[in-house]
């Protein structure tokens, strides 16, 4: 047996994961994950079947679930030193949308840490939040209670809150879940702008068909990293089969996706 290959980790990578294992209730859900994000800004998709640990991966990077072993570094530094440079978009279902706040209030929450413990939200913060809402096309709905927004609009409010964080590295948990095609394009447009501003964005993604057209890099995840790298190099049928195994419908979808990416 060959010794386990350990990649060299870069201290310039915005995210490097070293031999990370995560377990719930004694059962590991992520096993020995090694990954280095490219140093340059990229749009990175995490794909894999249900239960592959996609959300767990980003939650473990963010310290929201404990790691059984391994470590995560951001440009060579631990999480606690760089929290203000890391943004997060959780799944839409994770919060109570009946909560008594307006869309603008939610976006302001992206700046609460900067505002501090005791100071109120000031006009300066509200203006900055409004700019972020405007970037996702919701400036008109700033004063709506969040319940009155559609699913796609709620998702964009979360995106605006992440913009308000002004971070360098973003983790997004299924930002395209349950949104229509037009909203998906709008969100993708914002993500591309963010990348062009020099930010790295890591997205948990479930729609294989849009991976080649939307993302620069892809991580194939099924409890371990199957493969990762630029879409043009690693997004092929072999990796898809290794990741999704015998799921026939997924394979059919994957084959179609590959055919598309080859046509491009």
């Amino acid at each position: 047996m060959s010794p386990i290959h350990r990649p060299e980790h870069s201290t310039n990578s915005p995210l490097s994961i070293h031999a990370m294992t995560v377990a719930y209730d004694r059962k590991p859900v992520l096993w020995d994950v090694d990954y280095d994000a490219p140093e340059e800004p990229r749009l990175i998709a995490i794909v894999g079947p249900n239960g592959a640990g996609k959300s767990t991966l980003i939650k473990a990077c963010l310290g929201l679930v404990p790691r059984a072993s391994g470590l995560v570094a951001f440009r060579g530094k631990p999480l606690d030193d760089v929290r203000s440079t890391i943004g997060y978009v959780p799944q839409r279902e994770s919060v109570d949308w009946e909560f008594p706040v307006t869309a603008l209030d939610v976006v302001c929450m992206g700046r609460y840490r900067k505002i501090g413990w005791f100071r109120p939200v000031r006009q300066k913060d509200r203006n900055a939040a409004l700019v972020c809402l405007d970037r996702v096309g919701l400036a008109d709905l700033a004063d709506r209670q969040i319940r009155q927004l559609s699913g796609g609009q709620q998702q964009r409010v979360f995106l605006a809150r992440a913009l308000a964080q002004e971070a360098d590295l973003y983790f997004m948990d299924e930002p395209f879940a349950g949104v229509d095609a037009a909203t998906e394009q709008a969100i993708l447009g914002v993500l591309r702008e963010m990348k062009n501003e020099g930010r790295t964005i890591i997205v948990v993604h479930h729609d294989l068909q849009t991976v080649p057209s939307s993302f620069d890099e892809v991580i194939f995840l099924n409890m371990r990293v199957v493969d990762s790298g630029p879409v043009a190099e690693v997004f092929h049928e072999d990796n898809l089969r290794k990741t999704y195994g015998g799921r026939l419908t997924m394979l059919a979808e994957a084959a179609e996706a590959v055919a598309r990416s080859e046509r491009r």
């Binding site: 929201l64 997060y88 994770s94 109570d96 008594p100 706040v101 609460y112 209670q145 699913g151 949104v179």
Partner: protein, 429 residues
């Protein structure tokens, strides 16, 4: 005749604090308690910890009795507030800790854990209480008022303690509303931005526990949870901004304490706690019916108006389908598919005429130019929506709004043009 008049006079005097030192003290105590629990209760409700507060309240009983026993050992001659509250706080917090410990076990869910702790601690407390009452019966007078609350026995020191602690709780909650609110709304996000979520949670729960414990002598440990939940539930019907909900909830809690204490002092032999809770319940009931937008009356009125508008839209569409005019006796046939009564049809036609959508001359109803243009718009919209649902069934059915005047308000111009093309193609042979 004399009874009710003196009662109201009494009540008025107490309410306006002109009925002597004692009643004034009680009112100040209960209203500041109500205000504090209204404010901090909002966070407990929003963090979905309301039942946890209930468990905490019930779990104080063994501690209250235990504190009483200890104070007897150290030479007290009857129930004194401080040892009882300290004992209550200790066992209450132990109960909360036990709930937290139990939910970590995979087979026990939070509701089960809360029920378990609440009932066993309360049972233990009742058993201890009866044992104490039978063994040292002469000194236990007033101890059982901790179960239902009896504010009228409060001393000046009690009220001062209550009022200053309440003020502290209110100030802390208002000052820290941003971190508190963020942790309540989205604790994971708050944690990623670097807030110490565990410590903020602990502080919030500590404030809730504090209000519970200081509120027990006034409203009793069974009902103290009502003061945390009910004002907030009522306040949420009046506003959708956190800061407003906090203020209104505090106000409602304060009013409940004030009126409740006044009522219970002007009626003989009624315990204060239940009356305060009933006043809070009344405020909630009032809000539920009369609050603007979210109240029952208001939302019933909204749906009534919406149904009328839908009926008008349908009627205009039927007219368009029927070449714009119909004889008076043909109306029921025209609308037969709707199953409307003759009365409803008559009222509907009157409304449409008042809006200048239809006119009636020599028993023939016909569309006016404005009615015709509105009818055509409605017809086009409905066809476009039908087409949209057929061709874009996979995405966002919640975009469809049959009642909008212009589909363009919801869908992009490109999409509308595309749908119109599809409609045109579909209608050609």
């Amino acid at each position: 005749m004399d009874g009710p008049v003196t009662f109201w006079l009494d009540f008025w005097n107490i309410l306006t604090l002109r009925s002597g030192y004692n009643a004034t003290l009680v009112i100040l105590g209960t209203s500041s308690l109500g205000m504090a629990s209204g404010v901090v209760g909002t966070f407990a409700v929003l963090r979905r910890r309301a039942l946890m507060a209930d468990a905490l309240g019930h779990a104080t009983l063994p501690g209250v009795v235990g504190g009483f026993l200890l104070s007897l050992i150290f030479g007290a001659t009857g129930p004194e507030i401080l040892p009882l509250l300290i004992g209550g706080a200790c066992s209450g917090l132990l109960g909360i800790w036990l709930v937290q410990f139990l939910v970590r076990h995979p087979r026990i869910r939070e509701d089960a854990a809360i029920g378990l702790v609440l009932s066993t601690f309360f049972g233990l407390g009742i058993v201890l209480l009866s044992v104490v009452q039978t063994t040292v019966s002469t000194q236990t007078a007033g101890l059982d008022s901790y179960i239902y609350g009896q504010a009228s026995t409060m001393t000046k020191l009690d009220v001062l303690t209550l009022a200053s602690l309440s003020l502290l709780v209110v100030l802390t909650s208002i000052l820290l509303r941003n971190p508190f609110g963020q942790v309540c709304f989205d604790a994971d996000f708050a944690a990623t931005t670097g807030w110490p979520v565990d410590r903020i949670d602990l502080l919030m729960m500590g404030l809730v526990a504090g209000v519970c414990v200081i509120g027990i002598p006034a409203v009793g440990l069974m009902l103290v949870v009502a003061l945390l939940i009910v004002p907030c539930a009522a306040a949420r019907l009046w506003s959708t901004r956190l800061i407003d909900v906090l203020m209104i909830s505090g106000l409602f809690g304060g009013i409940s304490g004030w009126f409740g204490a006044a009522l219970s002092s002007s009626l003989p032999n009624l315990p204060t706690g239940p009356i305060i809770v009933l006043v809070a319940g009344f405020i909630f009931g009032f809000s539920l019916i009369f609050a603007p937008r979210r109240g029952i009356l208001s939302s019933q009125w909204d749906s009534y108006c919406r149904n009328q508008r839908i009926a008008e839209d349908h009627a205009l569409e039927h007219f368009i389908d029927h070449d714009d005019s119909v004889a008076n006796d043909g109306l029921s046939a025209l609308f037969s598919v709707r199953g409307w009564s003759v009365r409803k049809i008559n009222r509907l036609m009157r409304r449409l005429r008042a809006k200048d959508f239809v006119q009636c001359s020599s028993s023939v109803w016909s569309l006016t130019p404005s009615g015709r243009s509105r009818g055509l718009t409605i017809q086009r919209n409905h066809r476009l929506w039908t087409q949209y649902l057929t061709s874009h069934a996979d995405i966002a059915a919640n975009h469809v709004d049959w009642s909008v005047d212009q589909v363009e308000h919801v869908l992009s111009d490109d999409l509308v043009a595309q749908l119109e093309d599809q409609l045109r193609l579909g209608s050609e042979p």
